[in-house]
Every structure is written in C-alpha cells, then in structure tokens.
Amino acid sequence: MMKTSRFDTRLGESRSRIVSSTSVKMLLSMLSIVAASKANAQNITPIPAVRPDPNGAISAERTRAQKIFQALTAVRVPIDDARIVQMEALIRQGNLRGAAAVASKDPLFLDIQIRDTAREMSDRDETVRAPMSDFVATFIGIVRDSDTTSAKEMLTGNFYYRVDPAIIATLPTNATVRQDEAADILTSNNHYADIVSRGLSPQAILIRQSPQRISQRANNIETPVDHPDPAGLMTTRSFTGAHAVAGTNRRMVEYSFREFMCLPMTEFADADAPDDRVARDVTRTPSGSVNLYQSRCKACHGQMDGFRGAFAFLDFTNNAARIGTNVVNKMNRNQTEFPQGYVTTDNSVVNYATLGKNVDQLGWRSALTGNGMASFGKMMADSRAFSRCMVRRAFKRVCRRSPLTQEEQVVRSLADQFEIDGYHMRHMFENVAIQPQCVQ
C-alpha cells in the first residue's frame, strides 16, 4: 500500500472532504465562466498572470487601491496587478473617484458585484445563490448603461435585457443560448440559465430589448405580446414569478418595498392610515378582538391593500406572468371573512403611506394615486426612499455591512448626490466605495 505523502499528511484534510450538494450544477455552470475559452470576446474578464515584484515597495495608496478594488468588484486581485498600480497613481493625485472608476469599469464589477446585488433582490429568499434571470440581467444592463439609463427606469422602464442575438449567432451550435421568445424567455428561464452554463460574461453580451413582453396562453399555445403595463424590474418574469404566484398579490407590494425602498412592512406600517381599501379576506376581529385589528392588522393592510390594486390584473400561472383586462380572482378571494370589506374592481392605486414617520422615510414626490403597476413603479421611483435604498444596497455590498444608525446622514448625502448625478448607478457605487467609513 502506498504511503501517504509527508506533505499530504501535513496539509491534513485539504483534499479529502467531498459532500454532495444540490447546488452542484449551479456552481459547475458558474465555474465554466472562469474556465471559458479565450476565443470568445464575450467571456468573462481575462485573468491576468500577474508577476509579483519581490522588491517593490507597497505604499499605503497601493494597499488602499487594492481594498477599493475588492470592495467594488468583490474580487481580490494581486497588489502588483496593473489595475491596482493605476489606481494607486490616481489616489496619489488625490483622485479617489478616478481610482474607484478604474474598478467600476472592470468587467468584474458587473459580472460579480452587480450580479450578486441583483441576485439578492430577485427572489423570495433574497440570497446571492439566486439564479441568473431576466431580473438579474436587466439590473446588470441598467448599471452597465448608467451613462444613458437612469436607475429610476428599474421601476419605470419598458424594456428588458437579453443576450444579443448577434452574439448567439457566433456561438457553437452545441453551446448556444436558447432564445425562443415564448419557450425560453417568457415561460422559462432557459435563456438566462444558458448565460451561466455557457460561461458567458453578462456585461459583454447583454442587449436592451424594448418593449417588455409577456406571453398569452390560449388552447395551450403561448403567444408573445407587448406588455400592457410595464414597470421595469418589477414586471420581469422572475420577480413576478417569485411574488405573484398564488397568494393575493400582497407579496408584490411587500417585496417591491423590501427590494426598492429597503423597507419591510413592519417599518412603514402605520395604524393611523385609512383602512377603506382593506379587502374582504382580512378579518376585522382576529381572535375576537377588534382592537387587535385596529392596532396591528390595519397598520399593514391599510397601506398594503391600497397599493395592491396596482397588481389587480396580474397573475403568474403556467410558468409565466399573465396580465388580462379583468381583476384576477385572488384579489377578491375569501369574501365571507368580512363581506363589508373592499372589493377590487379595477387596478387603481391609492397611497396611504403618507402619515407620521412615512412622510420623511418614504418622501413621496409624485402623484399619490394612479392605475396599474407602471404608476406604482413611478410612485416608488420618484420617492426619496428609492434613492436612499439604492445607496443602502450599494453600501451593504461594497462596505460589506449595513450603514449604522449614526451614518444615516452619510446615506442621505450620497442619495442626494445620486439624484444630482441623474440616478447614475455606477457613479453612486464609486461614491460609496471612497467613503472613509467604507474602505480605509
């Protein structure tokens, strides 16, 4: 029997633990990105073979440059990497923003950092393990195209991002990206899953497609049509698939606030808000107590059900978002719970989150009523909470922690700058990364 190498013994268990995982496929697919052929320009950023300089000095500026690069891209690169050297020179000149821009222009920024930011927002679990999807691709595309696309279009845009068909045409037939509009984009995630399994760099291959589309189903046949009520990321297949499937469409309201306003229901609940829009399926006497309804249930439902009308025509069935011209049944279900409750008859939206603490924390700046998802999306996009939320998300990703209570003013200042910059996502990430609280 062969003896174990003495080095193997010293290294201990370094190669011995193998545990099967349900996520194996996903990681293998992702790994193919980094192992992708050099032949295609659309593959992930090349991995430079950095030659260390054993005798070179490492300045404080160089170290800071490396930290800023890692903060912005979520990837650690060698201290002697040309990108770090370039950033060091800019930091020496006092040009911190310029240094951060080197990192934010690197493909790793979009392919890793922005991808993971979007993944956390795209599904119910709010995890970076969420799959590549139309939501993630569109988010990456919006950030990539920050120079021409305002972040507000995340909630108002009538477009989505997909793989450029011209690039697909260059791929080998046995490693292509499926692109049938009905089968692979509107009723499944095939198109986006293939970006990962084919080892493609999202930032290099995505193209903006307008208008948004949905699939209409009749006699088991899927027919793509223009989306009648587009609202950017909120009306992507993956977001509606996560939150409009089954239920009562309240989850669409809840998660729209969670992801785009950074506010869970409990933080903007307000028992003083009117409850005339609270539907019939909400009992007014939970555990026999009217007071409990008045103090607890109403605090969330009063506002949530006011917004919920935006999704009155939306459902997610047979793997696709469906939007008709009639109110879907789930909006008015369980009508005997409190028959005097509100009956949804159209897709009108009423914003009741306008009192008390919500005046400041939400900061509405446009019409408080409207119809459909587009008007709800615009309402949120125009609010102060949206810009602050984008800053908070960037802060959490880049600085790897949530802003502290005493840093609220920093968040607000960055949000103000974000708005002045025309909701430029890439610039906002750069501004966050150069904050002394973030990377030192």
């Binding site: 190498s5 011995s16 054993p54 060698p78 970076v128």
Partner: protein, 228 residues
C-alpha cells in the same frame, strides 16, 4: 447562579457576548495558523469590548472577515494565482466548497468545514499553478517558481529560493510582504515536513512539487489571502 432559561433577554445576550464571542475568536485564531492582524474588524467607534455593556452585534457592527460566497472565492483565487483555466479537480473542489463557504463572511459563519473546504480549494488551484509554471521551460519567465529546479528533489531547494518563493506568494496572495515570523514559520514547517519519510514510489521531483504545493496551499488558503 440563575438558570439560563430564567435569565432576561439582556442577561442572555450579556452571557453570550462574554462567552460565545471570545470562543469564536479563539476558534478562528487557534484553528488557523495565520498571522493576520486583527480578526474581527469592529466598525463601532468606541466599543467597550465584546463583554462590555454594548455587546458586539456581528451582523450589523462588523465587517466580514473573509471573501464571501464560493463563486467569488474561486474567482479571487484565480486572480491571485493567475490560473486562468481550472482543472477538473479544482472545479470539483470548488463544487464541494459551495455549501461550506460563508455567504456573508461574518466571523460567526466561519467554521471548521469552511476552512477545510478553503484549504482544499486552495491546494487544487495551487496544483494548477505549479503545473502551469512547471511547463514554462525558461525559469526566469516563471512568476513564482523562477528559482526552482523542477528536475531536482525538494532538498535542492535553497534557502534563498524558499525566501524568494514566500515573498512572491506573500505579495500576490496577501497583498503585502511577509513578516520575519511568518517566513520563519513557513520555512520551519516545510523543513519539518521534509524530514519525514517520503511516500513510497514517489520520485524526488514529485517531492519538489509537493513542497511547493505545501507552501502555496498554506499561503493561498490563509486568512490574509481571502480576507475582505
């Protein structure tokens, strides 16, 4: 002393802060032979310490201690080593690491299985690096092993060659030069390994590669190589 169940929430928090957190720190520092300065980076301006009245909340008060998420760890290790194409073995190691690598990188999510997975992954990527460097016939053109003669046994690796190797890896992997203590530790551990009996049927040149793998894996999977 009160039963734990009878304690108030703040008392329980105080107890956990005074016992649990130091234990986490201890496991991190003892379980890993790294020479990293400071494990938990508190963002609190005036913390009174983990057992003081304002106990440390790892989720909101600290930065992560490691690169997060296994996909990003793989990409980082590739960037640090310059290994562009992973071997099947390295891909398998990365796949196996997936459920074990912390998503947040926070100190309380770092555990023994994670370190084993990181070491395993680091070793496989190092093996890819050694294979690639060995294929470069002109030694001066190698990035890490330009003072190594792959045709000779491990005992032919000179002290200067070890110093050079450690310096190059420290710069690329750790982003800094190694300290005297770190160099001494790495060399003495390597020397100790080399004094043990070699594996049966193992060629002397394979022993050279093993020595390089030993050093590379130890440095690439150390906290400073994967820290945020």
């Amino acid at each position: 002393m009160k039963n734990f169940k009878e304690m108030t929430l703040s008392q329980k928090r105080g107890l956990l802060a005074s016992t649990g957190l130091p234990m986490v720190a201890l496991v991190l520092m003892v379980g890993f032979q790294n020479c990293s300065p400071g494990v938990v980076q508190s963002t609190k301006v005036a913390s009174t310490g983990v057992s003081g009245p304002s106990s440390l909340d790892l989720e909101s008060d600290t930065k992560p201690v490691t690169v997060t998420y296994s996909e990003n760890l793989v990409v980082s290790m590739q960037q640090l080593t310059g290994v562009e194409t992973l071997s099947a073995r390295a891909k398998t190691a990365a796949t196996n690491a997936l459920p074990k690598i912390s998503e947040t990188g926070k100190a309380d999510t770092v555990n023994a299985p994670m370190w084993i997975a990181v070491t395993n992954l680091g070793a496989e990527i190092c093996l890819d690096l050694i294979t690639a460097e060995k294929a470069v016939t002109v030694a001066d053109n190698r990035r890490f092993f330009n003072k190594i003669d792959f045709a000779q046994g491990a005992t032919a690796i000179t002290d200067a060659a070890k110093d050079d190797l450690i310096r190059r890896m420290a710069r690329n992997f750790w982003g800094r030069n190694e300290s005297v203590a770190e160099k001494t530790l790495l060399k003495s551990t390597l020397d100790a390994a080399m004094t043990e009996p070699a594996a049966a049927n193992q060629s002397v040149t394979a022993e050279t590669e093993n020595a390089l793998l030993f050093t590379c894996a130890a440095m690439l999977s150390s906290l400073d190589a994967i820290r945020f």
